[in-house]
């Protein structure tokens, strides 16, 4: 992890009409970090991520992703990032190699390069036997791992993972996180959201959102100490408790 900032967020506000989804968010993400983005449903996580990915426009504030101003050139951002969503990532009616080829091509890689790197990828993941199999015939665990590999295939600066391990068995989750560690060690920043609280412990730093605001931002260890809890899960529950309970 270096001191170079890959995402700079300053007073980010996103409003839908009069509803404030993101309320003056301010934080930075450093190169090579594994950055956890937590929050209850409806807290504003997805809204923020969409802005970072260049999918949606901010209402006010300044957001810089991979050196690009999100307000001015969101299309440029897309070239430098990768994205993997839990809902969908790969085309079910295409084979493993066809999916890789598609995404490689979309991100501007040349055919020769795609072919070489596909071979490397398949070997590294031990997927060579699956090369010509349709995605829909692969089990979920393999799909998720492949989806992640495809998301970083083009060597983006940052990769956004939206609940990547949902519905996957514990062993595969373990393997998945090993892939994340390896990716981060190569200098690719990993921006991940998750509902699994134990995964929060694996991150370098974690931020927790509640009702549009950031209510916590630090390393897991520091957070536990500050809030006096023995796990991130506990502190999550503590600080995102609905208002009515505290009154």
């Amino acid at each position: 992890m270096t001191e170079q900032k890959v995402i700079e967020v300053k007073d980010l506000v996103k409003k839908f009409g009069s509803f404030v989804a993101n309320d003056h968010l301010t934080f930075d993400v450093y190169k090579g970090e594994i950055f956890g983005f937590l929050g209850a449903n409806g807290a504003g996580k997805t809204t923020a991520i969409r802005i970072f990915c260049g999918l949606s426009r901010l209402t006010s504030g300044k957001v810089t992703v991979a050196g690009i101003d999100a307000a001015r050139s969101p299309e440029e951002i897309k070239k430098r990032i990768g994205y993997m969503s839990q809902r969908f990532s790969l085309y079910e009616d295409l084979t493993v190699s066809e999916n890789i080829e598609l995404y490689g091509g979309i991100y501007g890689m040349r055919m020769k390069e795609i072919i070489t790197r596909t071979e490397q990828l398949l070997e590294r993941l031990d997927f060579t036997q699956y090369r010509d199999m349709l995605i829909r015939s692969l089990p979920l665990g393999l799909r998720q791992k492949l989806a992640f590999a495809v998301a970083v295939f083009h060597d983006p600066e940052i990769v956004f993972l939206d609940e990547p391990t949902s519905g996957v068995d514990p062993i595969t989750r373990r393997q998945f996180w090993e892939m994340i560690y390896e990716t981060a060690s190569h200098g690719i920043t990993v921006f991940v959201t998750t509902h699994y609280m134990d995964e929060a412990e694996y991150c370098d730093r974690v931020t927790i959102m509640n009702e549009g605001k950031i209510v916590a931002l630090d390393t897991p260890a520091a957070l536990r100490q500050t809030f006096g809890t023995s796990s991130v899960e506990e502190l999550f529950v503590k600080i995102t408790r609905p208002k009515t309970e505290t009154e």
């Binding site: 990915c53 990032i81 994205y83 085309y91 295409l94 066809e98 091509g105 501007g108």
Partner: protein
């Protein structure tokens, strides 16, 4: 540009793997040609005529013989009286009933006026009118001969001999007429329905999101979805043409190049519509309904079954923005009459304007929504 190539590769692979779609691409032209063309026949067939002859004279029998011998009528049954006749019409056993009153031959001999009465099933008004016209023609010929046989100078009962010839389709083969029309339906089905369903399917499955996050530009995405069906449309058109030629011997008088050029322009217009409708629908079912609704209007008003020039003014005005109407005219003129570029230049130009407007508008709305 290269991104587009990768996207196109993906689209083609997906189409090939889709069992329904890939089969439809081959089957639709074949089925349309095989099943549709023999079926879509609006010819006015022979008129079923029932006779009630109360006269039973040589004169009435002569009249009957002429009616039977004419190519317009099929003398099918007999009726005894009026009520019988009405029942026949109600049941639909005959289209027309002729009553020859008992004093018919007397009238022909000079004692009174010879009358004939016809009851006609006028549900199909045009048929009924035609039947009446045919009937009168036979009767007048008959009348004329009677008079001339009586030694009266022909000049007092002049008759015009009419010879009718049909050009470009001498036998009035209805299939010749319908093939261009069916081909238009073919391209519309592929360009509008299939392409649109494909577009909506992607939206329904949520895979659009994934593409949105990549550096793919909107126009590249749209082009990648639209180009395959453009090509497929033209190929299927060729296939349909070949089948029509082999199976029915339908001629092709004009320029193939012109034909395909117009079809290409039409496809662009229709694909624009597909794009637009798909942006309005969120499920495939909705799209099907919307598309079907509009396609039906366009096709019915285009003059495919009935002459467009007979339609009221407002309907003909509507056809200014109806791409199907243009292609229908162009197809028939080029295929059957061999009309050249000059003859269809106006239609072709108008079609091009439509194509351009539709597709620009569609792309514009698609960008805003998706």
């Amino acid at each position: 540009m290269r991104k587009l190539m990768f996207l196109l590769k993906k689209e083609l692979r997906q189409i090939r793997r889709d069992p329904l779609l890939s089969r439809a691409i081959i089957m639709v032209p074949i089925i349309q040609m095989l099943i549709l063309i023999p079926a879509v026949n609006l010819e006015v067939k022979k008129i079923d005529l029932a006779i009630a002859d109360s006269d039973h004279s040589p004169a009435s029998r002569e009249l009957l013989a002429r009616l039977t011998g004419s190519s317009f009528f099929n003398v099918s049954s007999t009726a005894d009286n009026y009520d019988d006749a009405e029942q026949i019409l109600l049941k639909g056993s005959a289209d027309m009933v002729l009553f020859i009153p008992e004093d018919f031959s007397e009238g022909l001999s000079g004692a009174g006026i010879p009358r004939l009465q016809v009851l006609s099933d006028a549900v199909n008004a045009t048929s009924a009118q035609l039947g009446w016209a045919y009937f009168n023609a036979v009767v007048r010929d008959y009348n004329r001969e009677i008079i001339i046989n009586k030694g009266i100078a022909p000049a007092s009962i002049p008759g015009i001999n009419i010879s009718t010839r049909y050009w470009y389709n001498e036998t009035l083969n209805y299939k010749f007429y319908m093939l261009p029309g069916v081909l238009v339906i073919l391209i519309t089905a592929i360009g509008l329905l299939m392409a649109g369903l494909n577009l909506v399917k992607e939206k329904e499955m949520g895979t659009i999101e994934q593409i949105n996050v990549t550096p793919v530009k909107k126009w590249q995405l749209i082009a990648s979805k639209v180009i395959p069906f453009f090509i497929i449309g033209l190929l299927d058109l060729a296939l349909g043409l070949i089948i029509g030629w082999i199976l029915f011997g339908i001629p092709f008088e004009g320029s193939l190049l012109l034909f395909f050029a117009c079809a290409a322009i039409f496809l662009i217009a229709v694909l624009g519509l597909a794009l637009f409708f798909s942006s309005m629908a969120s499920t495939q079912q909705q799209f099907l309904f919307i598309a079907f609704f509009f396609v039906m209007i366009f096709v019915l008003m285009s003059g495919i079954f009935t002459p467009a020039e007979s339609m009221p003014r407002w309907a003909q005005d509507f056809n200014y923005v109806n791409p199907v109407a243009y292609l229908m005219r162009i197809n028939r003129m080029v295929m059957l009459k061999g009309s050249g570029f000059h003859d269809i230049a106006r239609d072709m130009g108008a079609l091009a304007v439509l194509a351009f407007s539709f597709i620009s508008f569609a792309i514009w709305t698609y960008r805003k929504r998706a």
